[in-house]
Amino acid sequence: MRLLFVAILLAQAATAAQPLALQTFDAAWSIINTTYYDPSFRGVDWNAVRTEIRPEAERARTPAELRAAIGRMLSRLGESHFAVLPQFADPVDGEDAVDRSGGPGFDVRPDGDALLVTRVDAGSPAFEARVRPGDRLISIAGVSAASLGARLPAALEPRMRALEIWRAAMMRLRGPAGSRFVATVQPARGGVRTATIERVEEPGQTILLGNLPPLKLDVESRAVETPAGASAGLIRFNVWMAAADAPFAAAVDRFRSSRGIVIDLRGNPGGLAGMIMGISGHFFDTRTALGTMKTRTTSLTFYANPRRSKPDGMTVEPFAGPVAILIDGLTGSASECFAGGMQSVGRARVFGETSMGQALPASFSRLPNGDTLLHAIADFVTANGTRLEGRGVIPDQPVQVDASSLASGQDPVLAAALAWIDRDRE
């Protein structure tokens, strides 16, 4: 931090003499220069990168051009958790600052040349428009799904390609709440039709945390049944924000006598990494190391903090039964640290598809132009020494989702986890 403090001072000192674009570029460079976890920059000549790309920032005439220049600089590190988040209240600048308070009421995953609908919110306009799990979207607002990845490099790793296509899709699916878009839908039963879908405010609690854009926290839990007829608990939350702690704890308490608990982190991109200590504590009766974050100067360990009490002062035993974690290609960051950490000490079995592989602890800092710089400050390895960045969490039991199972109302990943809970108790 002392180094960052210096960086901030440098940025401020430049204010009087340099245009805002250069101040912003230099501030971003300096922050990373002083906080990146590897002082050798993993072989990248960080000074040379600045020299090479700074003229682009100097020539930038719009915020988008400046962000592109900074983005090019960040991409040289070749790692996750480096991004410029446009100032939330910025004037419209290309697509970056469009109001995306409304969501489509369903979720998708890339599936060949289309987008596979994996979940539809009951009662949403999309549901009313007869969009169902298992449907494939061929186009969104006149843009074909097949074109979403057209500009991506051919050599891009398939998991990263899927992630970028998903991001591009969500840019189009989201928009002002109440606005509408037309989608071309290929129902699982066959045929093709168009549907006009109204965007709705996404469910959940709005979280405003510092410079980050507003986040919607959605926590849900329900009892489910294993194939053998035993009761189990399913807990899903979409982002690691502190407000998830209380409902998660309440859900664990509700399922404390169940045969097993399933934690669904599919599509959960991360959040506050420190929370893995509190959330994992519901499943350990002793303080247990799950992984370590390594900054430039120190190593800090994420320990599960056994949760032996409730807010009202009642004592409880942490859940001792089998724990299954569901992941997919959109499970990232803190979710990966949690899933990988739990897996590494044998406390959970992981089901689904390999996660993002974007698992660097990061901080975020305001830049002189009002944008926010997201920047990794540490590497992360699980308790057994596995580095997750670029690799992801590899499921113990890989399970793929397909259109036919979704269309028939099945969730094969959850089904596999519940079957394992039966076997584990046997």
Binding site: L209, D245, M293, R308, P311, G313, S363
Partner: protein
């Protein structure tokens, strides 16, 4: 980790409510160091001003400027060694840490309720002493002046401190005013030890003593600023330090 930051801040506040150094002699404390600390304690108001204080309550704002994080903070302390810090941070919630004279604890929605143990508990016990770190020099095995240098933009006298138990820190005292200017130390957290640089700023007359109104900590690329605006003395009731039920339930 955040709880730790706050707990440490409580200690920093109490620094400014310190009483004069004890007359107890410790051979490894040099006369020069003793003189610097005595000057600091005198600058705060001296024994006559400090002795009547039995408790303190302070309130203000907390910020992590680069991250845009803001909140409120309340710090409560009482003789001989009780401390409580409560912060409300937007987007996070309530974070509390305390020491009730025997047990140290934290509770927040990141890690959950925790009873401190080991070095973290030792640290909390040290920090909770109402008179502050420099009141009883017998708590140090060594205090040695290590020259004068610039610290936080000011000329400052540097003291290398070693606590009973072995923890080391570098303490800085403003060469002009004699007031404690900050420190560099390794602090124990729930995740392991971490280097922290602290700045104590903006001393202002509060009642009969000088009280620091701004406390800044830098750690791991993050700067945290606490600005205190409201102080009360001798109004804190004993039950102010009661543990939250979720923490109390952890006591075996």
């Amino acid at each position: 980790m955040r709880s730790y930051i706050l707990r440490f801040t409580a200690a920093a506040v109490v620094v400014a409510a310190s009483l004069p150094a004890s007359a107890q002699q410790t051979p490894s404390i040099t006369p020069e160091a003793r003189a610097i600390i005595a000057r600091h304690l005198t600058a705060l108001g001296g024994e006559k001003a400090l002795a009547p204080l039995t408790s303190m309550r302070a309130a203000g704002a907390l910020a992590m400027p680069a991250q845009g994080i803001t909140g409120t903070v309340e710090i409560v302390a009482a003789r001989p060694n009780k401390a409580l810090l409560k912060a409300q941070i937007a987007g996070i919630g309530t974070l509390e840490s305390g020491f009730d004279g025997e047990r140290g604890w934290t509770i927040d929605p990141i890690v959950g309720p925790t009873l401190l143990s080991g070095k973290e508990l030792d640290q909390a016990r040290f920090d909770a002493v109402f008179e502050g770190p420099f009141h009883d020099l017998a708590r140090y095995t060594s205090l040695t002046v290590a020259g004068t240098e610039t610290f936080d933009g000011r000329k400052a006298q540097r003291i290398e401190a070693v606590r009973v138990g072995g923890d080391k820190s570098t303490e800085y005292f403003d060469a002009e005013t004699g007031l404690h200017a900050g420190s560099v130390a390794t602090r124990e957290t729930a995740m392991g030890p971490i280097d922290v640089t602290s700045f104590v700023r903006d001393y202002r007359k509060t009642g009969d003593i000088l009280q620091a109104h701004q406390l800044v900590q830098n750690m791991m690329g993050v700067e945290q600023v606490i600005t205190l605006e409201r102080f009360e003395f001798n109004t804190v009731k004993a039950d102010a330090f009661a543990m939250p039920p979720a923490v109390k339930a952890l006591i075996k």
